[in-house]
Assembly symmetry: C2
Homo-oligomer: 233 residues x 2
DNA sequence: CCGTATCCGGGGGGATACTG
DNA sequence: CAGTATCCCCCCGGATACGG
């Protein structure tokens, strides 16, 4: 993909030489979503090896899509930021995602669940404005089919923003949510609602009743959740 | 690319599994542009082997993007048509092309010239309404750097539409155009104009003076020619 | 925390020839 | 015209371990 080119002057082909190599579109999605640090990017593309991630970032840098900026010396910390050209890839990634939401069947999508990735996405889109204006902790207990449930704590703090932990931070928990991975993923993708999941017995919630009642609103959804799926099942 | 998946529920990743395999985006461009027959598609992706083209078409069919319709039996002729899902990929391909036009440098693009492909594209976008309402023939003599020039005849007929020949059809020629490949490609891409090319001595035109004077209008440009390039050289 | 180095296997896809 | 069939190389990228 990268070495040999299409040998076409058409701008679609020239752009496809950049976008067409494996992982690049998914990586760009994570960059467009706002991750800038190497290990943050890794959390967004967890199945990509660090070697390949590094290679792709170098390629994108060379192609003028990404800029690598030194943020701190000793130890050296870099930020990978989208350039102007990279910013303009957002409409491309959005168009890809909109199409995927509308036309990719949900069954194969929901076979690719991943609690870490889901929580990483949810953390980013949490609507803090829909929560009480104080520091609070929400614990997610996510059951994977037959596997022991995984625990995550989301800490929303008006000062520090939103944080995600996979080990107990020790704070008092304001809200507990127990749900299976498939259901919470479907909610995130806009295929299911909190109300229906509670009604159907797939989601259990207890703790602060006001926060609980407003979950559908403070839980930010995927950027593509608003697109209607054209193919069901 | 095709076998192993990204294992992400994100619609961007799910769509990327379809769009990310080699040649697929370029092939979709040709399908979106209107080609439906196997050999027409080949003209749009001339460096793709027929085996791979066939394979990709099967994949797209399986993914619900393309429908294969029998048009005629004996001999069997098929049309590859975009489904509704495929039609909705047009915004994606357009977004890719717009980005490519704006952000891919022109120098590498113009290294990928191909007279057959260029004429194939130009034939499709010829603005017959800008030509006299009668059958006429325009001969392109395209010089490739140091190589013998190649001849093409475009026949525009109010009844039969626009046709492209690479062997002399024998009709009287209404207009002769002599130009080097790089220049005519740049014109097609909107990087150069007919007037400037004539002025600069790269394009020679003779024959019907009215048709000649209107060339910039009847010669349809690339769908992306209207986008301004952000990077020059 | 932020990557690099190295190994290695599988298969994608390029090239070419051929058929109904 | 509309594809198949076949061969085979190369390199992509997955995995793992290691350095600054």
């Amino acid at each position: 993909m990268t070495t040999s080119t299409y040998h076409q002057f058409c701008p679609v082909a020239m752009a496809a030489e950049i976008l067409g190599s494996r992982w690049t579109i998914v990586l760009l999605r994570e960059l467009c979503a706002g991750s800038t640090r190497f290990n943050d990017l890794r959390r967004g593309v967890p199945r990509m090896s660090p070697a390949l991630l590094s290679k792709r970032l170098k390629e994108l840098e060379e192609q003028g899509v990404v800029a690598r900026c030194l943020v701190q010396k000793r130890p050296q910390i870099y930020d990978y930021c989208l350039t102007k050209a990279g910013e303009e890839l957002k409409p491309v990634i959005m168009a890809v995602g909109v199409w995927g939401q509308r036309w990719v069947e949900t069954t194969p999508s929901l076979k690719n669940t991943d609690p870490n990735l889901l929580m990483w996405d949810m953390r980013r889109n949490l609507q803090a404005a829909e929560l009480p204006n104080r520091k609070l902790t929400i614990q997610f207990m996510i059951g994977e089919d037959k596997l022991p449930q995984k625990n995550y704590w989301i800490i929303s703090d008006p000062k520090d923003g939103v944080d995600l932990c996979s080990v107990d931070p020790g704070f008092d928990v304001d809200l507990y949510i127990k749900v299976d991975l498939r259901t919470i993923t479907a909610i995130w993708m806009g295929l299911e609602t909190v109300a229906r999941a509670i009604e159907g017995g797939q989601l259990f919630i207890h703790g602060d009743v006001d926060i609980a009642a407003n979950m559908q609103n403070w839980l930010g959804l995927s950027p593509f959740a608003c697109e209607n799926k054209q193919i069901v099942n």
